[in-house]
């Protein structure tokens, strides 16, 4: 535990701090690019990319180790990974455009084939009895424990570059994701924009292989934007929040991993990210499920209160238990089910309000149709004063009506 806090506060040694910062930058970059992969509805492509890296890693290792005795060099392995992942993406693209298969079918085929080739090659490596093969399985599930300083630096730098590229291209990526046809008709090269997006995603996946591992790297590009989507309805804010969640989740995960070297870093990071997701799902005031439930609860009570008061105004019995209990709590109805004086007077106001609303719907059917709050709030709170005045004059032409709006209905 002590070690964990040391890692978290970056006082567990230079190396650990560097690894954690590298992971944070990686998380930020993949969260940012993930936003557009999510909005483009192509999240599964990242799974194809990550699985397609394995044969590249294995082949690069074999070649580098046999001929140059440098099989553990991270840049060499990542170059191999990027190359085979690129081939994988092109294969998915080719199948999608040249056959009638859908993208998910193409992804499934390419993903499993490339992964199979990679596993075969890994077995071959084990039987070849060449030295230095120890670190290779780290690419499957991620391992930061033995990471070199130079490796951490490479990861941090590359992730920073990818993140910067995403921010600079944010406008064009938004356009591509929202309305591809419009983008093309405005003169943007949609194909190239799409390629750039995939290239950046590929970059994040390859950089993250060592830290998170290829099996789980997809989570780094998906969970942060999905969690962030609960909090906002604007693209720039979404990118910022997703990057923030990705960064903090990866940092915390890497810090835990530093204090418990036997645990797979990738799994830890994904679990921390998942906790962010759950919290967002529950408590976000914008799209969270608690907020939605609360909103519905309030809405229901407003409707019941209004209907109950209207029933009192029309001298009709209130039968529904929920309505009765809401009326009683508001002091509009006594224990024996009789309307109180307060209830009577409030009912009059609501009745008049309802008449104005009905009149409005009669005179302006189009406008009232577009209105969300009709007859739920006092009309003066929704419509401009001059419109209400017109309606009041229409309702009671001979009376001088007070312009005061009724207070009832609002909770």
């Amino acid at each position: 535990m002590e070690q964990f806090f040391a890692a978290l506060t970056m006082s567990a040694g230079y190396n650990t701090a560097l690894v954690c910062v590298g992971a944070a930058l990686l998380g930020a970059a993949s969260g940012a690019i993930g936003v557009f992969v999510l909005l483009r509805k192509r999240t599964l492509v990242s799974d194809a990319i990550s699985h397609a890296t394995l044969p590249g890693v294995a082949l690069a290792f074999i070649i580098a180790q046999t001929y140059f005795d440098s099989g553990r060099s991270l840049p060499v392995l990542l170059f191999g990974a990027a190359l085979s992942a690129g081939i994988g993406v092109l294969a998915v693209d080719w199948i999608k455009t040249h056959t009638r298969l859908t993208e998910d079918a193409a992804i499934g085929t390419v993903l499993s084939t490339f992964f199979a080739v990679g596993m075969v090659l890994l077995t071959v490596i084990q039987s070849m009895s060449i030295a230095g093969q120890a670190g290779l399985e780290g690419f499957l599930l991620g391992a930061t424990s033995g990471m070199l300083k130079s490796e951490a630096m490479t990861i941090a730098l590359a992730a920073g570059l990818v993140g910067l590229a995403v921010v600079l291209r944010m406008k064009e990526f938004s356009l591509l994701c929202f309305d591809e046809d419009f983008a093309a008709a405005s003169g943007y090269n949609v194909r190239w924009l799409d390629r750039t997006l995939l290239l950046l995603l590929l970059g994040v996946v390859v950089i993250g292989l060592k830290t998170v591992g290829l099996v789980l790297i997809i989570a780094l590009a998906i969970i942060p934007p999905v969690a962030a989507r609960f909090w906002t309805d604007r693209v720039p804010v979404l990118v910022a929040i997703a990057a923030g969640i990705g960064a903090s989740g990866s940092f915390i995960g890497a810090a835990i991993s530093a204090s418990a070297p036997n645990m797979p870093t990738g799994g830890l990071i994904v679990l921390v990210l998942f906790s962010f997701f759950v919290v967002s799902l529950l408590i976000s005031p914008v799209r969270g499920i608690l907020a939605a439930a609360l909103k519905h609860y309030r809405f229901q009570r407003i409707v019941h209160l209004r209907q109950g008061l209207l029933a009192i105004a029309h001298n009709e019995p209130v039968l529904e238990p929920l309505t009765r209990s809401i009326l009683r709590k508001g002091g509009f109805m006594s224990g024996d089910g009789q309307p109180t004086f307060k209830g009577q007077s409030e009912a009059r106001l609501i009745e008049r309000d309802q008449k104005l609303w009905n009149l409005y719907r009669e005179i302006y059917p189009e406008e009232s149709h577009a209105l969300a709050d009709w007859s739920l709030k006092p009309i003066g709170q929704v419509l401009p004063a001059d419109t209400v005045k017109v309606l009041e004059d229409e309702l009671c032409p001979h009376l001088v009506v007070s312009t005061e709006t009724p207070k009832g209905g609002a909770i």
């Binding site: 406008k171 093309a184 989507r229 309805d233």
Partner: protein
Amino acid sequence: MQKLKTPDLQLLHDTNAPESINAQDHPFAVQGLTVAYHHKPVLWGVSYSAPKGCLTAIIGPNGAGKSTFLKAALGLIPKLSGETKVFGAPIKKALKNIAYVPQRSAVDWDFPATAIDVVLMGLYGQIGWFRWPSRKHRETALNCLKSVGMQDFANRQIGQLSGGQQQRVFLARALAQDAEMYLMDEPFAGVDAATEKAIVMVLRKLVADGKTVLVVHHDLETVRDYYSHILLLNGQHIADGPVETTFTSENLQKAYGGRLASTQLDGLSQASGA
């Protein structure tokens, strides 16, 4: 039985072909456009030039290739043959002169954007790469929203707008592009009467300003009221020209075949007297 019109050589070498007259009079000229989906022809050798400064409806039965015509002419979907010229220039170099309004159903309205964000997308071409919209751009976008009566909804999330309001936002985005030629794919589909009225006003304003407007239109009843010209499609080019001379029961019969009852046809084509 009518013979299929092929994208024949005569058309390509015709001295009366639109491009060889005065390019300035042809904001949008299409030559021999042929499109197929999986070996099934959708459009067959369609040649057409939109009359400059006019409001034209593209009409035809379901599956006549009306939307496909716009998309293929713009180069959004692959075509087998044909070319499009904008004021005599190849379309790829002239997209700045064109504002395209896709079908509302073509996009996911749950996208994280507000109404004004969408309108600003029409200005991205002016803003340029690596830069952000300025206060001036936001003002322009707000003015465009105002001209479709949506200024009060500028900061509303687009998913919370009604269908008609979403269509108006799309229209405002096209206005922001300030183009010479407007191509719209079913802007009246599924909108309320108030929106329909607002859109017609905007279209008339555009034409009054000398713009050329080409609209895929579904409702035959309103063709006479809204448009001055039509293009009739049914896989092939059936007819085009002013509404008075082209929107005839004979031409409609050719495009729609048995799908319109003869009484319907008579009603539509005789409405001109009213």
